[in-house]
C-alpha cells in the first residue's frame, strides 16, 4: 500500500518539478539534447530486467531511509538533525535514480510503440500484395477457361468422311504420311479438300444457270410461233363453215352447245350430258338444248370485286337511309326471298316425242341457293284438242308429272337443308312457289345427280353422274307412258262427258252386246267433296284418298235406279287403277255397308281390274271399268229377287243369261261375264 501511494505521489512530484525542469531545459537546450540522445542510446545498452531490480532496490532503500528519519525525529535528539540531513541527501540520490529510471521507461515505451507501428505497416503492405496476386490468378483462370471454350468455325462445316477423303483427295492435299498421326494437320487437310470441292461445284452451278437461260429463250421463241398459229386456224374454221352446212354435219353447232354447257351449274351439266348420251344411244326421240343467257352465267363466276365496293357503298347508303326506310322491312325480306329462290340463268330443255306426235317439253332449272333442281312441263299435241271440262287438270303443267314415282308430289323441297334456309327468310314451304319455279320432284334431283339423304341436313351435295345415269332410262320411259296415258285419258274424258263410254273394238269381248245402263254424268270433284261423301269412308280410312289424286263423280242410270260412283284417279294411272266407290239409289240407299252385292260390284271393278286393262299398255282401263259398271248394274237390277207381295210386273225383266241367281253364304249375284257363250256366272 505504501509503495502504491508513493507511486501516486511520484508523478505529482515530477509535475511539481516539471515546470522548473522545463524552464531549465529551455535554458540549456544543447546540453539536454545531447543528454537525451545519450539516454536514448543508453536504453539500448541497459537490461530492463536489471533496471527493474534497481528500481526495487532504490524503493526499498528509500523506505528504509524514510523509516530511519521518522525514527530519528520521534527520538528527537540533537545529532538527529545531522543524521537526518545525511539521510535526506541519501534519499535525494535515490530519487535521482528513480527519475532516471522513469525516463528510461518512457523512452522504452516510445521505442516499443514505434517498433510495433513499423511492423504493422509492413504487414499491411504484404497483405495488399497478396490481394493483387489473388486477383491476377483469378483473371488468368478466366482467360484459360475462355480459351478452352473457344470453337472453331470449321467444326460447322460438313466434311466428307475420313475414308472417302483418303480415297479421293489427291496426295498433295491429303499428305497421308503427315496427317495420319496428327489430327490437327488432318483436319486442315480435309478442310483444304472441302474448299477445293466447293469451288468445283460452284463452277458447275454457274454452267447450269447459263444453260437454263438458253432453254428459256428457246421456249419463248416457240411460244411466239404457236400464238401466231391460232388466228390462222380460226380463219380456216371460219372458211369451213359453209362446207359443214352444205354437208349437213352440225359439228360446229354441237361444239357450240358443249361450249355453253361448260357454263351450266354441275347438276344441270350432269343432266345435260346424261340426257344427251341417253338420247344418242337409246332414244332418238329425245332432244336436248340449253336455254338462257351465257353472259349472265359467266358473270356469276367473275370474282365479285366491284360488287364488294358497291356493297360497302350501299351499306353506307343504307345506314344513312335506314332511319327513313325502317317501315319497309317487309320489302327487304321479300328481296331476300327472291335472292334465295334465284334460278341459274341457264336451263336445260328436254323435248320428248311420243309415237303419236305429241311432245313433252321439260324445262329444268337449277335453284342456286337452295341447291335443288326444278322442272316445268308442257305437253303439245299435233292436233288441237277439244278440252273437256273434267280434263282440266290432266295436262296442266302443275299436275301432269305429279307422282311419277309413288309419293313424289313435287311440292316439298327434297333438300333437308332448305328448311333452315326458309326459316331465316320466313318461307313456310316451297309449295307456294312451285308454280313460278317449277316442281322439285325427286326424280329431277336424281337426273341431275343430286342425292339427298332422308332427314339429314347436309350442305355438301355433289352432282353425281352415275346416279343420273342409273335413273335416266326408267324416268324417260315413265315420262313417255305418263304423257301417253294422260293423252288417252284426255280423249276418254271428252267422250265420257257426253255420256258415251268409248269402248274400243279390241275390248268388245269383255262386255255383252246389250248394255242397258247408261253413263249420265262425268264430272270432276274436289278432294274435299270426295272425303265428305258418306260412302267413301273406307277409301279415306285406308289412306288411298290423297290430295294429289284426281277425283271424279260418275252417275250411271237405268230406269229409276241411279248408281253414283266416286272415282279416285291416281296420277300413276294406268299402272295404278282408278278406285270406284258405289252408292245405289233404288229402293233405298245401298252401299257396301249394307249390301254385299254392292261390295262385290266394287271389288269387281277395283280388284279384278286386270282383265279390264285391254291391250297394252292398258290406257283403256277407265273406260272399261265404267262399261263394266254399267253391266254390273244391269245384272244387279235384273237378278234382284222379285217381291211376291207387290203387284205388277218387275221393273227390270231378266234379260241376261244366268246359270244361278245366288251363290254362297253372302248370296252373290252372277257378275262374271263369260265371253263367247255370253252367259253370266259367279266368280
Amino acid at each position: 500500500m505504501s509503495s502504491e501511494s508513493s507511486k501516486k505521489r511520484k508523478p505529482k512530484v515530477i509535475r511539481s518539478d516539471g515546470a522548473p525542469a522545463e524552464g531549465k531545459r529551455t535554458r540549456s537546450d544543447t546540453e539536454q539534447e545531447g543528454k537525451y540522445y545519450s539516454e536514448e542510446a543508453e536504453v539500448d545498452l541497459r537490461d530492463p530486467g536489471r533496471d527493474y531490480e534497481l528500481y526495487k532496490y532504490t524503493c526499498q532503500e528509500l523506505q528504509r531511509l524514510m523509516a530511519e528519519i521518522q525514527d530519528l525525529k520521534s527520538r528527537g535528539g540533537k545529532d538527529a538533525a545531522v543524521e537526518i540531513e545525511d539521510r535526506r541527501i541519501q534519499s535525494c540520490v535515490h530519487f535521482m535514480t528513480l527519475k532516471k529510471l522513469n525516463r528510461l521507461a518512457h523512452i522504452r515505451l516510445k521505442k516499443g510503440r514505434d517498433q510495433t507501428h513499423e511492423a504493422k505497416q509492413k504487414v499491411d503492405a504484404y497483405h495488399l500484395q497478396l490481394q493483387n496476386l489473388l486477383y491476377e490468378v483469378m483473371h488468368l483462370q478466366k482467360e484459360i477457361t475462355k480459351c478452352l471454350e473457344f470453337k472453331s468455325k470449321h467444326e460447322e462445316i460438313d466434311l466428307v468422311s475420313l475414308e472417302e477423303f483418303y480415297k479421293e483427295a489427291p496426295p498433295d492435299i491429303s499428305k497421308a504420311e503427315v496427317t495420319m498421326g496428327d489430327p490437327h494437320q488432318q483436319t486442315l487437310a480435309r478442310l483444304d479438300w472441302e474448299l477445293e470441292q466447293r469451288k468445283r461445284l460452284a463452277e458447275k452451278y454457274r454452267e447450269c444457270l447459263s444453260n437454263k437461260e438458253k432453254i428459256l429463250k428457246e421456249i419463248e421463241v416457240k411460244k411466239e410461233y404457236l400464238s401466231s398459229l391460232q388466228p390462222r386456224l380460226n380463219s380456216i374454221m371460219q372458211a369451213s363453215l359453209p362446207v359443214q352446212e352444205y354437208l349437213f354435219m352440225p359439228f360446229d353447232q354441237a361444239h357450240k352447245q358443249y361450249e355453253t354447257a361448260r357454263h351450266l351449274p354441275p347438276p344441270l351439266y350432269v343432266l345435260f350430258v346424261q340426257a344427251t348420251a341417253y338420247g344418242q344411244a337409246c332414244d332418238k326421240t329425245l332432244s336436248v338444248a340449253i336455254e338462257g343467257s351465257v353472259d349472265e352465267a359467266k358473270a356469276l363466276f367473275k370474282p365479285p370485286e366491284d360488287s364488294q365496293d358497291d356493297e360497302s357503298d350501299s351499306d353506307a347508303e343504307e345506314e344513312q337511309t335506314t332511319k327513313r326506310r325502317r317501315p319497309t322491312l317487309g320489302v327487304q325480306l321479300d328481296d331476300k326471298r327472291k335472292e334465295m329462290l334465284k334460278r341459274h340463268p341457264l336451263s336445260v330443255l328436254l323435248d320428248l316425242k311420243c309415237k303419236d306426235g305429241s311432245v313433252l317439253h321439260l324445262t329444268f332449272h337449277y335453284l342456286m341457293n337452295l341447291n335443288i333442281m326444278t322442272v316445268k312441263a308442257k305437253v303439245t299435241t299435233t292436233t288441237e284438242l277439244i278440252t273437256p271440262i273434267s280434263a282440266g287438270d290432266l295436262l296442266s303443267p302443275d299436275s301432269v308429272l305429279s307422282c311419277l314415282y309413288p309419293g313424289d308430289h313435287g311440292k316439298k323441297t327434297p333438300n333437308p337443308a332448305n328448311q333452315y334456309q326458309f326459316d331465316k327468310v320466313g318461307i313456310l314451304t316451297l309449295r307456294d312457289y312451285v308454280l313460278d319455279l317449277g316442281h322439285p320432284y325427286l326424280w329431277v334431283q336424281k337426273l341431275g345427280g343430286l342425292h339427298f339423304p332422308k332427314e339429314q341436313p347436309q350442305h355438301t351435295v355433289i352432282a353425281d353422274h352415275s346416279l343420273s345415269a342409273s335413273h335416266m332410262e326408267t324416268t324417260m320411259k315413265l315420262l313417255k307412258t305418263r304423257v301417253q296415258s294422260r293423252l288417252a285419258l284426255h280423249k276418254q274424258f271428252a267422250s265420257l262427258e257426253h255420256g258415251i263410254v268409248p269402248v274400243t273394238s279390241d275390248c268388245h269381248h269383255l262386255f255383252p252386246a246389250k248394255v242397258v245402263s247408261r253413263l249420265v254424268k262425268w264430272v270432276t270433284i274436289t278432294h274435299e267433296d270426295y272425303t265428305e261423301l258418306h260412302f267413301t269412308k273406307d277409301i279415306v280410312e285406308a289412306g288411298l284418298a290423297e290430295d294429289t289424286n284426281l277425283y271424279y263423280m260418275a252417275l250411271v242410270e237405268r230406269g229409276t235406279a241411279k248408281l253414283q260412283a266416286a272415282v279416285v284417279l291416281n296420277p300413276g294411272y294406268s299402272s295404278i287403277p282408278p278406285i270406284f266407290q258405289l252408292c245405289l239409289n233404288w229402293k233405298g240407299e245401298k252401299t257396301n255397308n249394307n249390301d254385299d252385292n254392292i261390295r262385290a260390284m266394287e271389288s269387281e271393278v277395283n280388284v279384278c281390274y286386270k282383265e279390264l286393262c285391254g291391250p297394252r299398255p292398258g290406257h283403256q282401263l277407265l273406260t272399261n271399268q265404267l262399261q263394266r259398271l254399267c253391266v254390273l248394274l244391269d245384272v244387279y237390277l235384273e237378278t234382284e229377287s222379285h217381291d211376291d207381295s207387290v203387284e205388277g210386273p218387275k221393273e227390270f225383266p231378266q234379260e241376261k243369261m244366268c246359270l244361278r241367281l245366288f251363290r254362297g253364304p253372302s248370296r252373290m249375284k252372277p257378275f262374271k261375264y263369260n265371253h263367247p257363250q255370253g252367259f253370266f256366272s259367279h266368280r
Binding site: P406, D538, I539, A542, G543, L544, N570, I576, P577, I579, N592, N593, N594, D596, R599, E602, S603, N606, V607, S641, D643, D644, S645, L659, R660, F662, R663, G664, P665, S666, R667, F679, S681, H682, R683
Partner: protein, 364 residues
C-alpha cells in the same frame, strides 16, 4: 303394288272360322281362297262372368254341356297387353287353300277341313304352321255335270259316325266317310242351294236350311227326310221383301233357331211351331246357342245376344259392316283361350274376350 294390296284387303270377306283341336289357334278363310292361322292371345286370369238368370218358363232343356254357366274369361290387362303387340294380331301363317272363296271350315281332332269351290280339302293341324304346307287329301262330291261347279256352303261333322256332311250348290246333302274318304249317299229334297247345316245330337238327325226357304230334317239311319218346315209360309216370321232364304240354323235337339230372309225365329221342333220371333230387321247370317243365350250376327256391325223369350239382351258392336260367322272357342284343352270371335265383310276378325265388348281385332 301397295295400292292393289290395300284394295284387296278392303274388299276381303272372311267367310269361315274354325278353332284348332288344341284350342290355341284359329283358322279363318276368306273370299280369295286363303286360310290364315291366328294364335289366340291368351288372357292370363280367367274370371267368371255372371251369365244372368235362367229365363222364366223353363225354356232351356237340360243339356249335356250346360250344367253350370261356363266361366267366360276376360282380362283387361291381357287385352290391353295384346293390344300393345301389333305383331300378335297378324296371322302366323297365310296360305292359298282354294281357288275360290273358303265358305266353310271344321276341325276334327287332327284335321282342318275346308271347303268352298266344290272341293273339300283336309289339312293336318300338326303341320299347318309349317311353310309350304300341302293338303292331306282333297275330295269332290259326285256332282251332275254342269257349266258351273257347285259350291259347298256348309260342312257338318258327325263324330260318332265319323261322317262329314256337305251341303251346297247342288241342293243335296252329301255324306262322306272320313275313314275311307268315299261318298256314301246323297240326300235330295231341297229345291235351291243349301246355306246351312245343324246336327240334332240326341236323335241322329241333320237339319238343313236352304235358299228355297225350307228347313228340312233328315234321319241319318234311314237316310230319309222326316220333316219339313217352310219358314216363309209362317206369317209371324215371313218377310217377302228380304226373300225366303234360310241363312243360318242352330239346334239343341228340342229347339231350333233359324233366320235369313225371314226373321230370326225360335222353333219347337216336335210341334214345328214358331215360339219366339226375335225383333231384328237385318237378315241374320249366323246363329248359335250359348248357355241360356242365343247369339246371332248378320247384316250390321253388332253381335246380338238374345234371351230365349225374345228380348234383346245386348248388342255388341264389332269392326266389320256385316258379320258372316261367329266362333266360340270352347276347346277344353285351352280354357284360357275361351273367347268369341266374329268375322265378316272385312279383313278383320273381332275378338270378344268378354261377351260384353270387343277387345281388339285380328287382321289378315
Amino acid at each position: 303394288m301397295e295400292v292393289f294390296q290395300a284394295l284387296q284387303r278392303l274388299h276381303m270377306t272372311i267367310f269361315s272360322q274354325s278353332v284348332s283341336p288344341c284350342g290355341k289357334f284359329l283358322a279363318a278363310g276368306n273370299n280369295y281362297g286363303q286360310i290364315a292361322i291366328f294364335r289366340y292371345p291368351c288372357p292370363c286370369s280367367p274370371l267368371s262372368m255372371s251369365s244372368g238368370a235362367w229365363p222364366s218358363g223353363g225354356l232351356m232343356p237340360p243339356s249335356s254341356d250346360t250344367q253350370a254357366p261356363l266361366p267366360f274369361p276376360f282380362s283387361l290387362s291381357a287385352a290391353l297387353s295384346s293390344e300393345a303387340k301389333e305383331e300378335s294380331k297378324k296371322p302366323m301363317v297365310t296360305f292359298q287353300a282354294h281357288d275360290g272363296p273358303v265358305y266353310s271350315m271344321v276341325s276334327t281332332d287332327r284335321h282342318l277341313l275346308s271347303a268352298g269351290d266344290g272341293e273339300v280339302k283336309a289339312w293336318l293341324w300338326a303341320e299347318i304352321l309349317k311353310k309350304g304346307c300341302k293338303e292331306l287329301w282333297r275330295r269332290q262330291p259326285p256332282y251332275r255335270t254342269s257349266l258351273e261347279v257347285p259350291e259347298i256352303n256348309a260342312l257338318l261333322l258327325m263324330p260318332k259316325e265319323n261322317l262329314l256332311i256337305l251341303g251346297g250348290g247342288d241342293c243335296q246333302l252329301h255324306a262322306m266317310d272320313l275313314e275311307t274318304g268315299t261318298f256314301m249317299w246323297a240326300l235330295r229334297g231341297h229345291t235351291d242351294y243349301i246355306h246351312c247345316l245343324a246336327l240334332r245330337e240326341r236323335s241322329p238327325e241333320v237339319l238343313s236350311g236352304g235358299e228355297d226357304g225350307a228347313v228340312r230334317l233328315w234321319d241319318l239311319r234311314t237316310a230319309k227326310e222326316v220333316q219339313t218346315i217352310e219358314v216363309y209360309k209362317h206369317e209371324e216370321c215371313s218377310r217377302p221383301h228380304n226373300g225366303r232364304w234360310i241363312g243360318c240354323l242352330a239346334t239343341d235337339s228340342d229347339w231350333m233357331v233359324c233366320g235369313g230372309g225371314p226373321a230370326l225365329t225360335l222353333w219347337h221342333l216336335r210341334s214345328s211351331t214358331p215360339t219366339t220371333v226375335f225383333p231384328m230387321r237385318a237378315p241374320q247370317k249366323h246363329v248359335t246357342f250359348y248357355q241360356d243365350l242365343i247369339l246371332s250376327a248378320g247384316q250390321g256391325r253388332c253381335v246380338n245376344q238374345w234371351q230365349l223369350s225374345g228380348e234383346l239382351k245386348a248388342q255388341v258392336p264389332g269392326s266389320s259392316p256385316g258379320l258372316l260367322s261367329l266362333s266360340l272357342n270352347q276347346q277344353p284343352a285351352a280354357p284360357e283361350c275361351k273367347v268369341l270371335t266374329a268375322a265378316g265383310n272385312s279383313c278383320r276378325v273381332d275378338v270378344f274376350t268378354n261377351l260384353g265388348y270387343r277387345a281388339f281385332s285380328l287382321s289378315f
